[in-house]
Amino acid sequence: MSQKTNIKNGVGAEVKLVVKVFDLLPSPPDGVTMAAGVAAWLPFARAAAIGWMPVANLPMPIAPTDKNKRQDELIVLNVSGRRFQTWRNTLDRYPDTLLGSSEKEFFYNEETREYFFDRDPDVFRSILNFYRTGKLHYPRYECISAYDEELAFFGIIPEIISDCCYEEYKDRKRENAERLMDDLEDSKDSKLPNMTFRETMWRAFENPHTSTMALVFYYVTGFFIAVSVITNVVETVPCGSTPNQRDVPCGERYTVAFFCMDTACVMIFTVEYLMRLFAAPSRYRFMRSVMSIIDVVAILPYYIGLVMTDNEDVSGAFVTLRVFRVFRIFKFSRHSQGLRILGYTLKSCASELGFLLFSLTMAIIIFATVMFYAEKGSSSSKFTSIPASFWYTIVTMTTLGYGDMVPKTIAGKIFGSICSLSGVLVIALPVPVIVSNFSRIYHQNQRADKRRAQKVQKARLARMRISKTGSSNAFLHSKRNGMLNQALELTGSTGEDRHLNKTTSLIESQHHHLLHCLEKTTNHEFVDEQLFEQSYLESALQSLPSRSPSLSSQEGITGTCCSRRAKRGSRPSSEAHKPSHMHPHTHNLQELSAIHIQCGEQRTLNTSRSSLNMRPDESGGLNCKSSSQVTTAIISIPTPPTNNSPTSPEAPPNLASNSSAGVVKVSAL
């Protein structure tokens, strides 16, 4: 009995303090409860709190009562005919899912006294196992979209799929998404919202199958590339001889014809290049891309040739330039996906190729040296110098064996054979690596970039972190609400039944009670990280006011870490307060509570009731901003400046007289 009255007196004040502190908190997401199996150990954790009781100086909060105390019972879940049975407590572990909340009552079948769900029983197995073991697994044989639907139906976020199955899940999901995107793109291509002419052109260039014009263009350019390359080749073929001269290449014989052909091709290429340049969304980026460089290199020699006269000096250079015309063949890579992949493979296998080159070079130098010194003795040896031996070594190692240079001495022959044997090995080694790279990239080209997977992984971890901090936030949040709920019930105003948020599960409320007991034991409160840093910052920035002597024993600057905030909060409503009341705002919680212990202060019930009944129509209760006025006024109930030191508090009588002033303030608001 005494417990109850004590709580009535004590809780009222404490409630307001709590509200005061936490009215600045943003409303957190729904708390995620702890892991499944651990919920079963909650009674143990609560029992372990016995260690705190004898050392606590404050009274403990009331425990949440098990309103409908029923024995743990089996419930039957009938999923499309397959019956699953489990304990009710198992499902209660996750109150923010369908099965854990009261939502499942919608599916309760009175006649058969079971819960019927018209869903897939195979997927339900893994969902129910999640409740039992706390781990959600993704069965590989299951279709990804069906699984997602089931998860969504039962209110489970996919991010909590355990690590053993998460990779698989994400891969399948990504494939599915890409498939959907491809379908979407195909359907999108058919309809063209009003795109500018420039965008249309660019799309035509990039995806030739979008329109007939683009296709025609695609084939025409391809044809002309082929023509140009063939022309270059045929140009050098000797075709017929005039009687008085030796065989001349066709190019010199039909100069005009070839020149016209070349001009035509270059015309086409130039026009194409300029059109692409015009249509490109980012001209700078286009000009830097490989394909455009190839285009430029392909057509530039012609223009340079036009500009240059047929001068003897530069004709050599001019001939060199014509070599670059062969680069036109690279323009085919726009037409061939495989060619692009090959190029990309070589680029990505650069390290393997480099290794190949390096090891070959080492071997070549070694063997060339050896062969040179071995063949030095023999007469008329072709191995005149080590660089000259390089040619032999390369030809031998690659098993070409032209035979233009052969060793004649016995030592030379021995080393020559060793050279060719080792050549086979050295070249064969990096090749499989390059081949596997090519195959991997080819397959990878079919899927999205792995970088997107990294981002998703980060997002997943972030989301899990949020839901984990949600559990501590849930405590802070429910402190705000739960204490009020309890206080409301106790003061008899449960008629309005102002439950300020969704009813938390019994397990959650018990857990929160446990944390609250710890707070009471240590006389400190859990706060949000942001709030903590705020208060720390404030205390660091601002200088301390004159301290009451008993407080000064405690601190450096950190001692008032939260005092400033308390002061600021109280300032708006403190006009009528005497200045002396300002001082004791520091360590409000401790002081008020300390007084409670030491003075056995009897606060009138009126105080608590009147303040709590202040706003009967507010569904949000005392959480909303205007309540800060209420609460801070209450805080301004002056408390004598005491701390936890056993020295007797100063002027307890002041409290009695001032508290009435405090009451007045409260009711005025």
Partner: protein
């Protein structure tokens, strides 16, 4: 010959692999250590030993077995389980003390019997039993009295569970001060230690403590 070559190549590859440590890795480690599985005494025996009903024992055992399939809890698992209830702070020290208190036969693991006997005292015992158990928890070296150092350790472990983000900010000497208060309250003859009698006497005089002891009636 083939087996020898394979072993040889295995050891060669191990040498090339810089991360291989000769001392700890060995072929034997590749085999899983068979896990120890311990079964508790029968239900009837436990009912005699504790004050729980059969159903309560069943519920407790199910939870226990779920988290510790091998039937015993070792200290690390104990700490992990306990830490899940206190996300903001570090509960390992307090869990360590708890473990010591539950592990009555000092064999480094808590079996279901130990677990349930401890719980029975706390949740179903008389107030005096509970106070005795708490005293046993505080008395780290089990010598019958609590010294200031022992109390300080306990207090620090409790304060550690609060974590960093508290209001008001946690002072360095908060535990020490709290210990001072405790000793002033409990240590009747001011000899620097608190004996069991002093402890029980002081607790019985303190109304808060008596009320909080009653909290445990409804836990299960």
């Amino acid at each position: 010959m083939k087996a020898k070559d394979r072993d040889q190549s295995l050891s060669d590859s191990r040498e090339l692999d810089g991360s291989y440590d000769q001392l700890t890795d060995s072929i034997e480690d590749d085999f899983e250590l068979s896990t120890v599985c311990q079964r508790p005494e029968g239900l009837e025996k436990l009912q005699q030993l504790t004050k729980f009903t059969k159903k309560e024992l069943q519920v407790l055992y199910r939870g226990f077995k779920n988290e510790c399939p091998s039937g015993v809890v070792n200290e690390d698992t104990f700490k992990v389980i306990y830490s899940q209830f206190f996300p903001q702070g570090d509960s390992s020290m307090y869990a360590h003390f708890l473990f010591e208190a539950f592990d009555t036969n000092k064999n480094g693991s808590v079996s279901f019997e130990d677990f349930v006997i401890g719980l029975s005292i706390i949740l179903r015992g008389t107030i005096n039993d509970r106070l005795n158990w708490a005293f046993n928890l505080y008395d780290l070296n089990k010598d019958g009295c609590i010294t200031k150092e022992e109390m300080l350790d306990i207090m620090k472990s409790i304060y550690d569970m609060m974590g960093k983000y508290t209001y008001p900010c946690m002072q360095e000497d908060a535990p020490r001060e709290h210990v001072e208060i405790f000793f002033q309250k409990m240590d009747r003859n001011n000899d620097g230690v608190v004996t069991i009698d002093e402890f029980i006497e002081s607790c019985q005089k303190d109304e808060n403590i008596m009320q909080s002891m009653q909290l445990f009636d409804n836990v299960i």
